[in-house]
Amino acid sequence: MNDLLAEFLRGFTATNEWTVIIPEIMLAILALGMLGAEMVLPKKSAQSLIPRLAMWGQALILVILVTAGCSYGGDVKSYFSGMIEQTDVTHMMRAFFLVCSILVCYLGQIYLSKQTLAKTEFYHLVIIIAAAMMLLVQSAHFVMLFVALETVTVAFYVLVAYCRNNSLSLEAGLKYLVLGALSSGILLFGIVLLYGVAGNPELAGSSHDSLAYGELAHFINLNADNLLVKVGALLVIAGVCFKIGAVPFQIWVPDVYQGAPTPVTAYLAVASKAAGFIVLLKLLTGPLAGLSEFLVPVLSVIAAVTILFGNITAVTQRNVKRLMGLSGIAHAGYLLVGVIAALTIDWAVYAVIFYLVTYLLASFAVFGVMAHLANSADANQELEHYQDLARRRPFLSGILACGLGSLAGIPPLGGFIGKLFLFVAAFQAGLYGLLAVSVIGVVISIYYYFGWIRECYFGAQLAETETVEPVPFLSADRLMLGALVVGTVAIGLVPAVLPIIP
């Protein structure tokens, strides 16, 4: 019986490539299944069952993904006539997005318990986004890239405006919609320009299928000086820069981060940004590799301005969601430095992923605390609310301090090791100017991260009149947030626990 089954599976995989994206398919089924389950189940049990279904279902898929994942060992495996490519980088990032999505579902559960909103659709959209982002990082063809990216973006339009009885959330949704659509348009325009010019039979290396990365890379290598190629590439990069929130496409970040529900803010800040970086890396090392002489100066300027803009504007923020948004811009700048280094230093890709993982752990710890402390007016989370938190909620303020310390890059927390790898890579790539800017940025960031910690720990004693809505704090919450911090500290002390750097 077992042999038969194995035989069948072997035959199936030999002829059918769908198995390589089984995790994504299972996520889609899970998402649809939840919508169905809500209709079928009685309302009471649906409310408690569906969040659990979302989290445990994804945890199961994560286990499947990790255990089924083979070692790629630097190979590139191509499927679906080159639509999808899998490497060890994509494998890590798929797991990354699943972890993100599980954590967002967890935050969503806290958030939704304070709101009177539809619940199931939230989890549904979160899972759909996870699946789309997993496909996005594997895409090796502009059609695949665009479809996956639009799936992510459209789902985010809904999620950002999810709190539809709050004007700030609606405003954020509208801003994200308008600017997101604009950026998609820019991206598409760039793709079309590249497609058009690469299809010109007059030019060397022209191709019929110039949307495939491989073909395009060949073409661009031969025509790096073509003006249309340069313009097209710039537009594509601009479209991606919108997703990662790099200057000058960062203008949406503070408003959207503030207005969006906290879990969605976290999702945008971590997963959406990470996806953007992996796409950028793939484009720069793949189809646009021939243009690196032209693009590196542009990207360097973007990185430097992004770091400075994010840090300087974050200094004056009193609203913590805006602060996280603006400091997130600064982190995008550091990551861009890593991406630029990755064009010349092979292992820098892993430094970027390492940084993303430490950023994930630290950010979710901070957002987790924010979700717990927020009252129903989710957008108005001010620094003042954190005054003297250490006395009122010692556990939460400890988590917050570790998360913020890691974001600031303080040893012995994970964020420090992440920055160390990025800096070493940048040094090896000879990016001295960007390193100097990064260091200035890190120093500025100390001010606002420590300013926040200071509110919690060194604040003046708060008058007891401040309304603090007690939220039921379960041992599961303790476990979840504690695990994030333990992970952060463990990575800081023994980076070997995160086997990313080869």
């Binding site: 012995p412 790898f421 090896q428 260091v439 060194f458 023994v494 070997a496 995160l498």
Partner: protein, 527 residues
Amino acid sequence: MEHDTNSLILLAAILVPLLSGVIALLGGRLNTSALRSISALGFGIPLIIGIYLFCHFDASLVGEYNFELRAPTGLESIGIYLHLGLNAISLPLFLLAGVVGLAAGLYAMNSKAERLNLYLALLLFMLGGLMGTFASVDVFFFYFFHEFALIPTFIMIGMWGGAGRRGAAIEMTIYLTVGALLSLLGLIALYVQSGVDSFSLLELRNYLHEKPLGETVQSNIFALLLFGFGILVSLFPFHSWAPKGYAVAPSGAAMLHAGVLKKFGLYGLLQIAYPLLPAGGEHWFSLIVWLALGNILFIGLVTIAQKDLKMMLGYSSVMHMGYAFLGLATFSVVGVGGALLMMVAHGLSVALLFMLATCIYHRSQTFDMSAMGGLATKAPVLAAFFVAGTMASIGLPGFGNFWGEFTIFAALAETQHTRWIVAPAAIGIIISAIYGLRAVANIFFGQPKEGFAAHLESDSVVDMKLSEKLPALVLIVALVITGLFPRLLSDNANSELTNLYPVQDTLPHHEAIALPSTTDGHKELTH
């Protein structure tokens, strides 16, 4: 590489304080006596281990490390290992950390700080980091442990500091982060530029000995290290964080930071920057001398103007760093050896003075020296300790500071082009005598000021208790030992320094310098 018992014992000197810190932190419901014994263990064992290792130290291993231990932690891909060991230069500082750690711990254990368990835990973390800093062979871990010890300082200032702590804590944090990041960049630059795939100081040293870097590269990296470490040591004009920070810091944090942690920067220059980048030291020589004189003369005069006791101590500790910089700048075995002795002795004396300042405050309820007077009548033992500490800090013979300053002057006078520095540097001695003795006179002797006289009469003013005498005694004994037997430290260090600081024929104005004049001085004393 063998991992013998002694290298595991060395590791224990780092782990024991950390573990007892964790226990103190998590065991929030421990009763006070259990908390005290746990932390006493954490504070005492590093010093015991330090003394044990001192006795088993093999001084013949010049250019290598004793008690080596090497373990991967996941950063091997960029050449970083947890690589511990001691040489004759790090051993004195390792001992210093143990002594000051014990004293600060003993004093803190009996303090009435709110949330005592957190306070002790942070001090223990700091001590663990300090032991790690000086026991690291790997320059990354050297930096890492330093940061590990630095973070608790900020928290302690922020939570238990005096008035103005919010501003002081953030200013100190930002200032020291700049310094730390610059030195981290310098260390990474050293790693990348040297081309040897390792952060191990030994490998870097051997490799750079064979193939020194070009002069421009050397001076650039040296600049990063000089200003990075310089900020951490409060090199003039990057000193403004130090007096303010120390003025508000709780005594335990001030003792460990001013006494030990601040020596990190000097140690880094001494052990890493100068030996690996001699041309860089050469290039920046005159700037270092001027800045060091700025420390001595400018800050010296500022110190005289202070009325607040803790501010005065903070400034005076900044001032004395100038001598250590001068010693390093001579690039001679004698001068650098003097700087090393000076670091140890200064660490002990400044920790003692910061502790006594708090003792004084508990009796006078003020740090304003102009509002005190006559305290010696009620607290003679406190007065005796304070006078001893001040004398040590001024550099009177019999205390370690004397040998440090003396040998630095000797080294300066040795060569033609540094001889002029002796004169302005000697003025510093007079300056420190002025403010030191004036402080003693204002606080302990003379007529009590109005208002203070009445306060002095009350029964609350008592002499030092045992819990205060004990830590002070630990520090005084260590100071006297370094004063009477500097050879204990300097003999081993001399041979190591001779290896690190070879006489440079290529550099014309560095003439050959006869070796162990520290020991000559010692002979004079014992006769």
